[in-house]
């Protein structure tokens, strides 16, 4: 059909078409259908006596705002996955207002956290110098209160719950700083590791809006933790590239930016990143939900294979596990990763789906981890029998027992689920209830260990 208006309108239609193409909601066929419509409208209007360019303007106007049209298309074709990324918010709706406000509160919390880590510096605590121990034990205290405050605001938590949360943060701060631990003592290192865990669970209480009894909300928090970790690592990678390039380019013009980067960009960026990652999890929830299950599905079989290979190697060479301290920490880390994979897979799983190959792989992973954990426990027990209890060995023993019990329970419930005897929800409940064990353990390491081991 000739538009009857020369090349100028053809050019305009081409431009319009290119503009439509940028909308990912609109597939090529949709764009073609809309273009056909546009051409019909232009033909009609020019036949009625309008100039082609006038007709084009009116036809485009009558098509409606592309935002509206593409939103309707996205709504209709919800299977087009990127929908969540591009669906523009309804203009002027209360939700848009709220999400804008959430954004600014998040920015405020991130700035507070980023500045908080600089405050001790103004009182002579040098972040790159001798006060590394001070920062190590207090690191989580700079950022996690701001994160908890963000959730407290967002979830509209009551005053009483806020009071409890604040009290716990104060308790953590007192334990980390009032105990006379030497900078190179084991208990200080243990505090530096366990205080973030303990406080992260306090953040969890804020995350669930004070409903810490609710198992569904606890599961949400577990899921949040996994997604937060992914976002934080992504932000960290990007930040690392940014810092490396900054230092490099400044060096090229003879300016040394290392100090600024080390004393400002890195600490402030890391603290702010914690908050931003948490906000991203909330704001872009559906994006990562598609990615994290994929990651667990890739790595669960890989880790299972690696662990089986490791066990075979132990049997083959009949070597016991080396009881060097570094090696034990490595094993603890491995078990924590296995547990993380398991937790994440559970939190992302639809409880209604029947057992499948992936669940079997998971059981294999859990059982091999269980065996390795037993071997590690034997090694630790041997060391304790030989040299007696120390803070480090007691903590390692406790952690391995906790992991052992968790993995044993998980294996039991997974097996029951695979045999069709137990619903999947039992495994979920086992994990959500276990959060309490972690909380009790982390807090007792922070509060009781320095006293029990005389700050050694």
């Amino acid at each position: 059909v000739s538009v009857g208006g020369g090349d100028e309108v053809e050019g305009q239609i081409l431009e319009w078409r290119a503009y439509v193409h940028r909308r990912e909601e609109l597939h090529t066929a949709d764009a073609e259908e809309l273009e056909d419509h546009l051409r019909n409208r232009i033909t009609e209007l020019t036949q009625a006596g309008l100039r082609p360019d006038e007709a084009f303007l009116i036809a485009v106007k009558r098509m409606g705002s592309l935002d509206d049209v593409s939103r309707e298309f996205a709504r209709e074709h919800s299977e087009r996955l990127w929908k969540q990324l591009v669906l523009p918010a309804e203009p002027d709706s209360a939700a848009a207002l709220r999400s804008r406000r959430e954004f600014w509160v998040m920015v405020l919390c991130a700035v507070v956290a980023a500045l908080a880590i600089k405050v001790p510096g103004w009182f002579g605590r040098d972040i790159v110098g001798d006060d590394a121990a001070f920062y190590a034990r207090n690191l989580s205290l700079f950022v996690l209160p701001a994160l908890a405050a963000y959730f407290a605001w967002q979830r509209r938590i009551g005053v009483r719950v806020i009071g409890v949360l604040a009290l716990l943060f104060v308790l953590g701060a007192v334990a980390a700083n009032a105990y006379p631990m030497r900078d190179d003592s084991q208990t200080l290192v243990l505090t530096a590791i366990h205080l973030p865990l303990a406080l992260w669970l306090v953040v969890g209480a804020a995350y669930v809006g004070g409903e810490w009894r609710s198992e569904r909300r606890r599961m949400d928090f577990i899921r949040f933790t996994g997604e937060w970790l992914i976002y934080f690592v992504l932000l960290g990678l990007g930040g690392g590239v940014l810092m490396a390039i900054t230092v490099g380019t400044f060096n090229a013009i003879g300016v040394h930016a290392e100090d600024v980067v080390a004393s400002w960009v890195l600490p402030c960026g890391a603290m702010g990143g914690v908050i931003v990652a948490a906000w991203l999890v909330e704001a872009k929830q559906s994006v990562i939900e598609n990615m994290a299950p994929v990651l667990t599905r890739i790595f669960t079989p890989l880790f299972a294979t690696a662990l089986v290979a490791f066990l075979v190697a132990i049997v083959w060479t009949s070597n016991g596990i080396d009881v060097e301290r570094d090696a034990l920490i490595l094993f603890d880390l491995l078990l924590v990763i296995v547990l993380g994979l398991l937790l994440y897979a559970i939190s992302a799983r639809d409880p209604a789906t029947p057992p499948g190959l992936f669940d079997r792989t998971q059981l294999a992973l859990v059982v091999t981890a269980l065996i390795i954990d037993l071997l590690v426990l034997v090694a630790i027990a041997g060391r304790i029998a030989e040299f007696g209890f120390t803070a480090n060995k007691s903590a390692a023993l406790g952690e391995n027992v906790i992991l052992l019990v968790n993995l044993a329970g998980s294996a039991w419930f997974l097996l029951g689920f695979l045999r069709g005897r137990l619903p999947f929800a039992r495994l979920e409940r086992w994990q959500t209830r276990y959060l309490l064990v972690y909380a009790v353990w982390a807090w007792s390491v922070v509060l009781a260990f320095p006293l029990v081991f005389d700050f050694a």
């Binding site: 059909v1 073609e32 809309l34 056909d36 419509h37 409208r41 049209v69 309707e72 074709h77």
Partner: protein, 124 residues
């Protein structure tokens, strides 16, 4: 006269199905027919007709095919299915009930005088 968005949205499905029941058609022609039938009073945003057509296709009320009319551009034609006809009949029953009820209301209220402005708003 301006017809509100809600009314336009509610009447869109039966209108499109009704027009397609007369024979296959394409987006622009449907829009023109709606415009003519309503004497230009039902104003649709052109672009929003297509998501509606796609929805009707997804639920199975209509089916579509790309055709090339002689000497023209490729164009997507829609045609009603049996399920669509059943849906149209159902919608007709519902709309008849609504129209009947409204007619009843109009005949009782038409005898009443038009609503007068309350005194307390007179100063505004």
């Amino acid at each position: 006269m301006h017809i509100t968005k809600d009314l336009v949205a509610a009447s869109a499905t039966p209108l499109v199905l009704g027009l397609l029941a007369e024979g296959e058609s394409y987006g622009y022609a449907i829009l023109k027919q709606v415009n003519e039938l309503s004497g230009g009073q039902l104003e649709w945003t052109d672009g929003l007709l297509y998501p509606l057509l796609h929805r009707l296709e997804r639920v199975g009320h209509v089916e579509s095919a790309w055709e090339v009319p002689p000497g023209g551009r490729r164009r997507k034609y829609y045609r009603i299915t049996d399920q669509g006809r059943a849906e149209l009949a159902e919608q007709r029953r519902q709309w008849a009930a609504v129209v009947d009820a409204l007619r009843g209301v109009w005949t009782t209220t038409l005898s009443v005088k038009p609503i007068t402005v309350p005194v307390w708003t007179a100063g505004l």
